[in-house]
Amino acid sequence: MNKFTLHTGIAAPLDRANVDTDMIIPKQFLKSIKRSGFGKNLFDELRYLDEGQPDQSCEGRPLNTEFVLNQSRYQGASVLLARENFGCGSSREHAPWALDDYGFRCVIAPSFAEIFYNNCFKNGLLPIVLRDEQVDQLFREVAETEGYQLSIDLERQLVITPSGEEMTFSIDGFRKHCLMNGLDDIGITLQNEADIRAYEERRRQQAPWLFGAIK
């Protein structure tokens, strides 16, 4: 997993609430058995005017020129500015995979759907919750200034605007630690193998019907 410590990049504003994971990556692209290669189909139905197919090259597909990621000023964006309840709906981890593969390292929104929020951390993508008025302010500033960049300092838990204004965000200690060090959850959990075995033994005594039934 990619480490996340400090990041500075162009911010792109996606100004709509309740962006669902079907919108982030439509279902026809979920048929892949890989974790990579989803970036070209990120926001496929918003980005292109035709219907995308898996394994199709996106070169030459008609672009929706109004869509934010197709505008020249947002090329190379790596920070996505979004509205409330971002990532709602389907649990598909293909959504953070697609955002990551496209080049996003961070999504800033007033709120996230929980499964999406969890999935981001497993993929080195940082979801940041800021207050409504802070997000409003960033939307305003990004619209006013071409090439607007945000810096994210995970260690200090800060979003820093080009004028030097600092906005603090909160994050779970464990998640922060994993993200900063690029750690794999499974390895960490398996350090507690003895605890898991002990629980399992107790459980087997209490509810033996939950063991060995499915075969």
């Binding site: 919108m23 058995i33 649990s91 981890e93 959990t189 939950l210």
Partner: protein, 471 residues
């Protein structure tokens, strides 16, 4: 000290350890696997040289991609090459790791959230996960169940545990008696309309009150299924005699001595009378009429006697923008009557509404009637091979076919259109599924979420109509 909620009890009884930062490691009794969100998890295990912690905690079946037309030729005859690879990959992974799988043409195959309860694979008092957000369905059984991402699928395969944070508790209480023609689907759509699509974020929702006590297990599954459409990963209904009766005799349910011990444990799976909830929502059953979604989020819902909202009456600019966007996408105008919405296709199926009671409800409405001339296609897709067999034994298939609906093989089908069942650009569909997002049922497709009875009524009239006029 206040008593515990059902969610607290389930969480506490599965706690392996609490980490210093307040996150918890909880033990997972069951994982259900399907072809779309598992391949990368199995690949991850292989790359790390790991094995599943406990093979007997897993059960698998392909559902999202499988064709619902005649498929006796097997997986090799799946036309879409990408779907075929995914189904074959699930088969190969389950074979390699020794995980029980009901393959595509096994009579027990079906939509994960229909198959797993039907088999008794998920039991009251257990924890269950699946790489699918509609795992919330299983909370109807008195289990702590929620959807997870693929990295977590791999984590559970490898460790039998999940790193999680305890949720808050919300009680949604619906008292009173539902009117005729008002179904569990209408109840949950109404609830989502009240609390909003993010209203349940961070909460486990327990559904309590007369309406849920008097509801069948299948109805409870429909309700909990859509907790996630209100933002809650977990929906729950307390265990009662209805729950216990449901499990007796199911293939993987405990037997003999174990049955008695299990039932004794299950009877305690209710919220204590002095339990405190962080949020309580109270709704009167009499206020709920058959529901229809008009927009592109499940919260965009009104009663069938209502009309499409007018953005001029809304103050919040983000909401106005959302309404305008939805009206444009759906091809509707402000203040249009719901019953004036013409339909092109009908879909009866999905993990929300493809169980036998759903099919009976729909069959009752279409019996002796014909699908309206403007309907291009009306699909009935049972949730599992066993539901299909039961329906055929009751003659429901004949009623549907006679009325001009198509009777299909089990799978997720047009709920998310990963298989060939999908909407054309601009087409309106009365669908018993759970999501009306843009493009969900096909590029440019326009989904209206309704109950099976309302979908059936729309099929025979060609537009929305209050089903109570037909029954």
């Amino acid at each position: 000290m206040a008593g515990k909620t059902l969610y607290d009890k389930l969480f506490d009884s599965h706690l392996v350890r609490t980490n210093e930062d307040g996150s918890s490691l909880i033990y997972i009794d069951r994982q259900v696997l399907h072809e779309v969100t598992s391949p990368q998890a199995f690949e991850g295990l292989r790359l790390a040289g790991r094995k599943p912690w406990r093979v007997d905690a897993n059960i698998a079946t392909p559902d999202h991609n499988v064709p619902t037309t005649e498929r006796s030729g097997g997986v090799d005859l799946i036309v879409d090459p990408v779907s075929k690879i995914q189904v074959k990959t699930l088969d190969a992974n389950c074979d390699e790791f020794g995980i029980l799988e009901f393959k595509m043409n096994d009579h027990r195959q079906g939509i994960v959230h229909v198959m797993a309860p039907e088999q008794g694979a998920i039991l009251p008092g257990s924890t269950a996960v699946c790489g699918d957000s509609h795992t919330a369905t299983l909370g109807a059984l008195g289990a702590l169940a929620h959807g997870i991402g693929t990295s977590e699928v791999e984590h559970v395969l490898a460790t039998q545990c999940l790193i999680t944070k305890k949720m808050q508790n919300m009680l949604v209480r619906v008292d009173g008696e539902l009117g005729i023609g008002v179904t569990p689907k209408d109840v949950v759509l109404h609830v989502i309309g009240v609390i909003g699509t993010a209203g349940g974020t961070g909460y486990a929702i327990e559904f309590g009150g007369d309406v849920f006590r008097n509801m069948s297990m299948e109805g409870r599954m429909t309700v909990c299924n859509m907790a996630i459409e209100a933002g809650a990963r977990v929906g729950l209904v307390a265990v009662d005699q209805t729950t216990i009766d449901y499990f007796e005799g199911r293939p993987f349910a405990p037997k003999g001595e174990h049955w008695d011990a299990a039932v004794a444990e299950w009877r305690g799976l209710t919220s204590d009378t002095d339990a405190e909830f962080d949020a309580v929502v109270e709704i009167h059953a009499e206020d709920i009429e058959p529901q229809v979604t008009w927009g592109t989020s499940p919260e965009m819902v009104v009663g069938v006697s209502g009309q499409v909202p007018n953005p001029d009456k809304e103050k919040d600019p983000v909401k106005v923008d959302g309404i305008n966007r939805a009206l444009k996408y759906m091809g509707l105008v402000a203040d249009q009557k719901i019953t004036d919405i013409k339909l092109d296709r009908i879909f009866i199926g999905s993990c929300t509404n493809s169980r036998i009671e759903d099919l009976r409800d729909a069959a009752k409405v279409v019996k002796g009637r014909k699908v309206a001339a403007n309907i291009i296609q009306a699909l009935v897709v049972p949730g599992s091979g066993l539901v299909k067999a039961q329906a055929e034994q009751e003659g429901l298939d004949k009623i549907f076919i006679e009325a001009g609906l198509e009777w299909r093989e089990p799978g997720c089908s047009m709920c998310l259109a990963m298989n060939p069942d999908k909407l054309g650009n601009g087409e309106h569909c009365a669908s018993t599924s759970n999501r009306n997002f843009e493009g969900r049922q096909g590029f440019g497709g326009r989904t209206h979420l309704v109950s099976p009875a309302m979908a059936a009524a729309a099929a025979v009239t060609g537009h929305f109509i209050d089903v109570r006029e037909l029954i």
